[in-house]
Amino acid sequence: MNSLFGFGVSFALDGFKILYMAVSLFAWTMCLIFAPRYLGKEKHQGRFYVFSIITLIATLGVFAAGDLFTLFMFFETMSFASYVWVAQEENEKALKAADTYMAVAVIGGLVLLMGILLLYTNVGTLDLASLKEACATGGKYGKGRLYAAAFCMFFGFSAKAGAFPIHIWLPKAHPVAPAPASALLSGVLTKTGIYGIMIVSFYIFEGDALWGCFVLAIGLTTMVLGALLALFSIDIKRTLACSSVSQIGFIIVGIAVSVLLSEEGKMARYGTLLHMVNHTFVKICVFLVAGVIYQNVHKLDLNSIRGFGKNKPFLAVSFALGALSLAGVPGFLGFLSKTGMHEALLEIGGVLGSKLLLKSVECLFLFSGGCTLCYMLKLFVCVFVERNEDEKVMAGYLEKKPYMGMLQRAAVIIPSICVLALGIIISIKDEYTFYALHVLKGSFISIAIGIFLYFAMVRLLLMDKRYLDMWPKWLDLEEKVYKPFFGTFSTHVLGFEMRILDNMIDSTVVFLRKTMYKDLPLKEKNYEGTIFTHLFGHTVDVVNAKLKHEEVKYDYEHKMALKSMERQENVSLAKRSLSFGLILACLGVFLMLFFILYIVYLR
């Protein structure tokens, strides 16, 4: 396939790629067996399935790609095909969210392209197998360009992963997309972005402290911001979306730690990888649970769905398993992954330089872990423990009627059992003892923070019998920062200047036609004759009138005018006559003669 697309398409497989291709296939299977009942009798179901399959193929292509060119092609296909998921419902909110999604996808894609090209022109290869060696030397144009390339690529990939400050599409797109689509968006599509970030970090900047710190900073911000946003949200799917942002933050922190630790970062890589898998499984489970709620109630805000899960132990167990794993409670896969990252995090003190910094990073890590538990607890208590305020609605929720199909049950329970099973199997098989006291300490601190936060903050501050909507609107980067800034920039600066440029020649033409080349209006003659006759005749008339003490009569002026017209006629007659022409010709001949004589004789 050397000449296809002018560049050649290549595929290569290794452990990680195969793992994630398998995980993607699993995720798609779960979501697609969930979908038919969820979509019910909705319109345009065909396109949902078609584009799901296209996105699946593209996602597999991203993981299977052997070079960045192939990866980019599949990445773009995936971005564009998944647009249909977000816009599927076609209501106003969905279309707006879809626009945001598209804008982020396009901008991210273009910046990514720039990054890949910068890398290619610098090191001369895009093959993943040989990228590491090629980058070690710094490339043809030096390290500066390598950083620029990596930064662009990081931006492009993190737009898909949902890292700060381009996480804006996640909280908007997830609530409006159909539940199976949200599950895949959050569970798998963000991981393709993470995969890209891993390529940039591990292939180009293995062990580079500057790069590691940059990624660490982004990761920490994303992690904390996502966790806090999730606390304030009272829309179940938006909470889960913010939770995705936060978990992506954890994963990026894990990547940063492995970059900083370089060779010794085995633990960090292990933790990161486990957390990716954990997040995928959990998000599929919990988003599908949210889907079950939505297909019955058609609402997503916590006050309306409160108490829905009473008397539905199956749903409660699936959700609880997922939530516990996400929060990193011992026994689950999430515990292993967070522990791995946490243990590795404690070793980067040497790179960071100061103990205080390390301590604060660790605090943020544990705090976000606590938040995870807190918001998952909030969702669980709201849906499965409490009763709805409206008794009629509650009675409806308690009614025994089929609320989900058999395939849907399978789709919800299998991933959540997987995280438990994987958590147990790996902790037994692995040589590292996860269940030692000093290792468990981090997890327990995190859980304590979570429970404390739940009672101190959620029950006290964010609830007044009902769940209060404290969603920080002022934190909406898109509405408050990006749109005003780029809107003003594009309309007032760019648009204005370009309009001037556009009209330059045309307006010059118009200007000339209005001024120099104007069609002069025909002057209405209000007097006869020429100016001379007018002035002269008028003077004579006035003088005459003064002398005779009479009113001014236009006697002489008229006569003068007549005379001048007569003269003009004669002149024009003479000018048109042959004799006048002959005279002029003769004059000319004479003048020439004189000129020749002058030249020949007098000089």
């Binding site: 000449s3 296809l4 697309f5 002018g6 560049f7 980019f72 092609m73 773009e76 296909t77 564009f80 647009y83 816009a87 419902e89 076609e90 209501n91 106003e92 279309l95 879809a98 626009d99 598209m102 396009v106 901008i107 894609g109 273009l110 910046v111 392209l113 720039m114 090209l117 910068l118 290619y120 022109t121 594009s490 309309t491 760019l494 648009g495 370009m498 309009r499 440029l501 556009d502 009209n503 330059m504 020649i505 045309d506």
Partner: protein, 431 residues
């Protein structure tokens, strides 16, 4: 292939001779496919129009002239056919014979002739300083003669670039495009935008790469000035298209910006970027021709020239809007279409060039323009397929579009994708 056929010889300079080389082939493919497709399309589109005989005669004449021009072997032949092309294409612009059409036609003629005179000046100068005016890659300048009058020759070359640039829609003489395109009948604007605008680009290729030689231009003020003009044009075209509410005018602005991509590849003067320019040349020809043809259909369907009235058009005409989508993706440069491969080579070439700050500014302008392109083309597609819940498609009437019209559009779209998948076919082997 390199054999020159001389039809008529007045003296050494003035001879009609034809030759086919790599540029001719690319141009010829574009001309033949475009004229075939928009010709088939005209059968349906022009059915209810008047003066059909005149239209088809002029159409065929233009086809003939363009073919002759693409195979021209020396500057005189090229210039002769270039002028003929201007004259024969004007009736297509003025076909409707309304006041606006006539004014737009005159504007087109005046701009084009003005450009042609700039070229003519360069012709005289180059005639004196070139060994021969036959097109040979690498240039035919007589360096000994040039060395004393370098300023003059550079000015002449710049004037020629500017003159051909009028046709190619290069700033500042681009505004005939936005007047002529919306007024002309759709197949005519498709041809205008698809090949006639490219004729200017071919003219520039002939002058810069085949007469003056890129080594002569590289590093001089001509390159700098030319580059600034191109970057301005790229950004201006996209920005104004972004703000333009009238569909065909939006596409015309888009042409201004996209044709400057070709010139971008030329001004970069690296081999990779040159390859990118040729790919952009052909990919844009197919995609933009298809877009104009579809715009004609859409205006017929919705009865409105405004973009906002195209909401929900994909509900009744999914095939049409799918072609529109793919062509739009090619315009933006999304894989696997031709526009993507072209942009890849263009950016790669400009990143490899080490001229001033061009490695940075060039790609940035290209990407900004690509972003704006997405901004002005994607909403049509997205709102066409996803008009919203409350949308009722009453204002879109179902008219019967014959299959051959679809075929013409699909062929063009398929070609645009083919350029992306197998670029090697179009720009020679060894890719």
């Amino acid at each position: 292939m390199d054999k020159m056929i001389t039809l008529w010889k007045f003296n050494d300079v003035l001879s009609l001779s034809y030759k086919i080389d790599s540029v001719s082939i690319v141009f010829l493919i574009a001309i033949v496919v475009l004229f075939a497709c928009s010709g088939v399309y005209s059968i349906y589109y022009m059915k209810e129009k008047e003066n059909l005989k005149r239209y088809y005669i002029v159409y065929m004449l233009l086809f003939f002239v363009l073919c002759a021009m693409s195979c021209a072997g020396n500057l005189f032949t090229f210039y002769l056919n270039y002028e003929l092309m201007t004259l024969t294409s004007a009736p297509l612009v003025m076909h409707e014979q309304t006041i606006e059409a006539r004014l737009a036609g005159f504007k087109y003629l005046i701009y084009s002739l003005m450009g042609a005179y700039c070229v003519l000046f360069g012709f005289y100068v180059l005639n004196k300083y070139c060994v021969s005016l036959d097109f040979t890659y690498g240039g035919t300048l007589n360096m000994a003669a040039v060395s004393e009058h370098q300023g003059l020759v550079l000015t002449a070359v710049f004037l020629m670039i500017l003159g051909f640039g009028v046709k190619a829609g290069m700033w500042p003489f681009h505004s005939w495009l936005t007047s002529a395109h919306p007024i002309a009948v759709s197949p005519a604007s498709a041809v205008l935008s698809g090949v006639i605008v490219k004729a200017g680009a071919v003219g520039i290729i002939r002058v810069v790469f085949f007469l003056a030689g890129k080594d002569f231009i590289d590093g001089t003020w001509v390159k700098m000035a030319w580059m600034v003009l191109i970057l301005l044009t790229i950004l201006m075209g996209s920005t104004l298209a972004f703000f333009e509410p009238v569909l065909k005018k939006r596409l015309a602005y888009s042409t201004i910006s996209q044709v400057s991509y070709i010139l971008f590849g030329l001004v970069t003067m690296t081999d990779v970027a040159y390859k990118g320019a040729m790919l952009q040349f052909i990919a844009h020809a197919f995609a933009k021709c298809a877009l104009f043809l579809m715009a004609g259909l859409m205006i017929k369907i919705s009865g409105s020239v405004y973009v906002k009235d195209l909401k929900g058009i994909g509900r009744k005409y999914p095939l049409l809007l799918w072609c529109f989508t793919i062509c739009s993706l090619s315009m933006i440069g999304i894989p696997p279409t031709g526009g993507f491969i072209a942009k890849w080579y263009l950016i790669e070439g400009s990143l490899n060039s080490d001229y001033y700050n061009f490695p940075w500014s060039g790609p940035m302008f290209l990407l900004l323009s690509a972003l704006l392109t997405a901004g002005y083309l994607l909403p049509i597609v997205l709102r066409g397929f996803f008009p919203g819940e409350e949308f009722e498609d009453n204002n879109i009437e179902k008219i019967k579009i014959p299959a051959y019209v679809y075929v013409s559009v699909i062929v063009l779209t398929a070609m645009a994708v083919l350029v992306g998948i197998c670029p090697g076919i179009f720009v020679g082997g060894g890719m």
